[in-house]
């Protein structure tokens, strides 16, 4: 990217005309970055997002430093009768700790019954959440971009078919459909087993059902871009459809796609959590936030932290991505006044 640090060549400034004081002297991305940097809330979101990704990637290291293996049982710390964390592990009749056994060793307390370390499970849960959300988002973006750009560029019956397809997808009761579909696919389908299949299935289902959101945006942008004369200019130079689609249009779609996929990630995180909550998520004992929430229903009287912590994890992650995405969108919005 060029970064002209000085005003452009003044070839025409000798005459009475000047382009005026609004002339864009910095690139859109630089302006966006400047705006973004001033947006403290969005920056906070970005920082949290980075931390979350780091947390997911570094999960093994983090848990080694601050926790325990995520599937390791610590039942000696638990009350056998109620499953809650004991006030005093040495005394089995000391009653249940209302804080769920939070301490220096177990930062976020213990999972009821099994006594597994909540911190480690939350950290590992981020892996699944983010993996599925990112994977699904990439799938959405790929399908949405290809179909959106094709629909927008070629128009006519191609557009009609794809647009109707998007309508159909939006007309489906998505969540129902997704859980139903996740339920009817047997293990071992498509040559995949166990969690590999579950993750692939989650990514596929979420990605497959959410692409119209990207598709619509790309189609709309393509329709606008198509009217821009540079497309005609490229054609008049003898460029083919491939060149126009990928060399001329696609670079212009990168920004909106980036912005909207950032905003799609939180949606997909919630979607994944919802599926896990409804019991069609990942296989145990692999931790997932939605799955933990779903299990927590049985322990909310004795171990309220088990409800709150995974819920908060989802909330913070989604919020951070939303803040980040909102900030990006505002920063890139040409209509922003400053």
């Amino acid at each position: 990217m060029s970064a002209p640090s000085h005003a452009p060549d003044q070839a025409e400034e000798t005459g009475p005309a000047k382009e005026g004081w609004v002339a864009a002297e910095r690139s859109l991305r630089q302006i966006a970055w400047q705006r973004f940097r001033r947006d403290k809330v969005a920056m906070a979101g970005a920082v949290v997002v980075v931390l979350l990704i780091a947390m997911a990637v570094l999960a093994p290291l983090l848990t080694r430093l601050f926790g325990f293996p995520p599937n390791e049982f610590h039942q000696d710390l638990m009350d056998p009768l109620t499953g809650g964390a004991l006030n005093d592990p040495a005394n089995p009749t000391s009653g249940i700790d209302p804080w769920g056994g939070m301490s220096g060793t177990h930062l976020l307390g213990l999972e009821p019954v099994t006594g597994r370390d909540m911190f480690s499970r939350i950290v590992y849960g981020a892996q699944i959440s983010l993996l599925v959300a990112f994977g699904a988002t990439v799938l959405c973006v790929v399908i949405g971009t290809v179909l959106g750009i094709v629909a927008g560029y070629f128009g006519g019956w191609v557009d009609t078919v794809i647009s109707r397809a998007m309508d159909i997808f939006l007309a489906f009761p998505l969540l129902l459909f997704a859980i139903a579909l996740a339920g009817v696919i047997p293990d071992g389908a498509f040559g995949l087993q166990g969690n590999g299949l579950r993750v692939a299935l989650l990514i596929f289902i979420i990605g497959f059902f959410n692409w119209p959101y990207i598709g619509r945006i790309v189609r709309g942008q393509t329709l606008t871009l198509k009217e821009r004369e540079f497309v005609e200019a490229a054609r008049s130079l003898g460029a083919g459809n491939g060149h126009i689609l990928f060399r001329e249009l696609l670079p212009n779609l990168v920004t909106p796609i980036l912005v909207y996929s950032t905003l799609l990630i939180p949606t997909n995180i919630i979607f994944e959590a919802s599926l896990s909550f409804l019991g069609v998520g990942i296989n145990p004992p692999t931790p997932s936030w939605g799955g933990m929430l779903s299990n927590s229903l049985d322990y909310y009287t004795t171990s309220p932290h088990y409800v709150i912590i995974p819920g908060l994890a989802i909330f913070i992650t989604v919020l951070a991505f939303n803040l980040f995405g909102d900030g990006l969108r505002d920063a890139f919005d040409p209509r922003s006044s400053d």
Partner: protein, 585 residues
């Protein structure tokens, strides 16, 4: 005795259950309304003969079916007696609740000398809700519709079809519309009051079969097949109001045609009985505690959330009963999937398992006792002294386990899969505990989840599926259809009972010794000899390592203050619903 096509016990969240008494003094209780902890397990709490009021039931799922001929759930067997009387039923007397006693029959059946025919006489004054008399042929019809033909009712057991003679060519009540019972020779109804059952072979447990709700009378003209459940013609003290479809609840009102004199079992105290379906378990528990509900119809007790809360409060604890419900929860260790086809490998699992951890997953001591054998304590043949795989604090013996692994040539451990019902948190928790404890000796277990409604039919219950997916382990549970050693063991341990689908011998245990001993036991008349045989089978099963017991399950039942005449029926493994009354509402 071995060719029973059907009879898998459906272990729902609420389960079917039939077990023998574990003793305990009878007598009608006194004490205050709250009673004391576990009191109703052994005696009647809050005795009262006060009539009136509405008895309010709720259930977290939908009622399986209201049709007495089409159900395998114990709670329906118990509950359906409100409107569908049977020939025999379990005694309402505390301490004798596993004994069959006459209901519609005047007395216990007369058995012929060859042991092949059972004759019963109906009481006087038996009528349907429209006042028409109940005749013996209606009972025969009820049995026919639920047992015979391609379109027999799918959900119930089919013991009659197995046991009755002269009926193999009978194709069911729909085969010949002009005469639905033509060709059904296994039951004779010489007059309206007499009914004679002819068996292929002697079967000493037959009275238990007559307890089943399939012996309820069904007038042929009222039969609408599976949709009969929408409005069952009442023979008991209550009848349907407004019909029933699954999920929409049920209301029973008094059947004025019911003759109390003809009925020694039912006290029929409430004026009305309501059932709400699909209520969240936590919500049911909360309402029980608040006094807004009288009975959890499913009979499995409090959910984990409330259980924890109530068990830790002394005051509330007095309203709890914590009886063993006669079911064995276990891990079926498959004997075909490699390397578990080797007995030593299976024994390695038996040694490595952490029983303390599995019990915790099941809710600790309130959830069940740690078993050392297969036959539950209530059933003759249980051996309290057996302990083939001893370990300190029930945490497992890892050294022994590794020895066994070496013996079967898998000293580095091996991998296998563990099938579990996804929508049963307790079983999933137990699966995680199994996974965790086997991991200690290098046995790598991957958990596979399946929907519970298809688990027995298509996944764990299909040997082909089990082999194909290498489901070496499956979490399962077993409640006998009636509380004898034969009733308990034949379906989970007899090699002849391995089926292509809906198989309950999930271990695919086909041990010649066990098979022969079982066949012998069921022919044996002497109770002590029988018990000794069952004991040997019990021991042998443990030796094979095909069944890894998790717990002898216990329920935590809540007994609201306004519920009267509460006592636990071992026969149904829940409160005896026929005696309940209410002081509230």
């Amino acid at each position: 005795m071995s060719k029973r096509a059907l009879g898998l016990a459906a272990l729902g969240v609420g389960s079917a259950l039939f077990l023998s008494a574990c003793g305990g003094g009878g007598g009608t209780g006194g004490g205050d309304a709250a009673g004391t902890y576990d009191q109703a397990t052994t005696e009647v709490v809050n005795a009262s003969d006060e009539k009136g009021g509405t008895l309010r039931y709720a259930i977290s799922a939908n009622i399986e079916s209201t049709d007495p001929g089409n159900t395998y759930y114990g709670y329906v067997w118990n509950f359906s007696r409100y409107y569908a009387r049977t020939l025999l039923t379990y005694s309402p007397e505390p301490g004798k609740t596993t004994e069959p006693v006459p209901d519609m029959a005047t007395e216990m059946p007369k058995v012929s000398d060859d042991g092949k025919s059972y004759t019963l006489t109906l009481r006087d004054g038996l009528t349907y809700e429209d006042g028409s008399p109940i005749v013996a042929e209606d009972i025969k019809y009820g049995i026919a519709r639920s047992n015979y033909g391609d379109d027999a009712l799918p959900n119930g057991p089919r013991y009659f079809k197995e046991l009755l003679a002269d009926s193999d060519d009978y194709e069911g009540v729909n085969a010949d519309p002009s005469d639905p019972l033509a060709g059904f020779g296994g039951i004779e109804t010489p007059d309206d009051k007499t009914i004679v059952f002819h068996l292929k072979e002697p079967f000493a447990d037959f009275p238990y079969v007559l307890v089943q709700p399939q012996t309820a009378p069904v007038p042929a003209e009222a039969d609408k097949g599976q949709q009969y459940q929408e409005n069952v013609v009442s023979s008991g003290p209550y009848k349907f109001e407004g019909g029933w479809t699954p999920g929409n609840g049920l209301t029973l009102v008094r059947n004025e045609e019911w003759n109390a004199d003809s009925d020694p079992i039912r006290t029929a105290l409430p004026d009305q009985i309501t059932v709400q379906e699909g209520v969240d378990q936590n919500e049911i528990d909360q309402r029980l505690i608040n006094g807004e509900l009288d009975v959890d119809l499913g009979g499995t007790g409090l959910g984990p959330a409330k259980k924890g809360e109530v068990l830790s409060g002394e005051d509330e604890k007095a309203r709890l009963d914590n009886p063993e419900n006669g079911s064995l929860r276990y891990v079926a260790v498959n004997t075909v999937v490699e390397p578990l086809d080797d007995e030593a490998c299976r024994q390695a699992i038996m040694y490595a398992a952490d029983h303390d951890s599995m019990q915790r997953a099941w809710g600790g001591a309130a959830g069940g006792e740690i078993p050392n054998d297969v036959i539950p304590p209530q059933i003759a043949g249980h051996d309290p002294d057996l302990d083939l795989y001893p370990s300190k604090d029930d945490k497992g013996d890892l050294d022994k386990a590794e020895e066994k692994l070496k013996e079967c040539g898998e000293e580095d451990g091996f991998s296998t899969n563990l099938g579990v019902r996804a929508d049963r948190p307790t079983e999933v928790a137990a699966a995680e505990a199994v996974q965790q404890s086997l991991g200690r000796v290098g046995i790598d277990v991957e958990i596979k989840q399946f929907p519970s409604d298809t688990f027995t039919n298509t996944q764990a219950g299909s040997p082909d599926f089990v082999h194909e997916n290498e489901l070496g382990l499956n979490i399962y549970g077993w409640i006998p259809d009636w509380p004898t050693g034969y009733g308990f063991l034949s379906y989970i341990a007899h090699g002849d009972n391995i089926k292509k689908a809906g198989n309950s011998n999930i271990s695919e245990l086909d041990d010649k010794e066990i098979n022969e001993m079982l066949d012998e036991a069921v022919r044996t008349e002497d109770a002590d000899e029988q018990a000794r045989l069952y004991s040997d089978i019990d021991r042998r099963i443990m030796e094979t390592g095909a069944i890894l017991p998790i717990v002898f399950e216990k329920s935590v039942l809540y007994r609201p203050d306004n519920l009267t005449n509460v006592h636990f029926s071992q026969g149904y493994s829940m409160y005896d619903y026929m005696t309940l009354g209410t002081t509230g509402s």
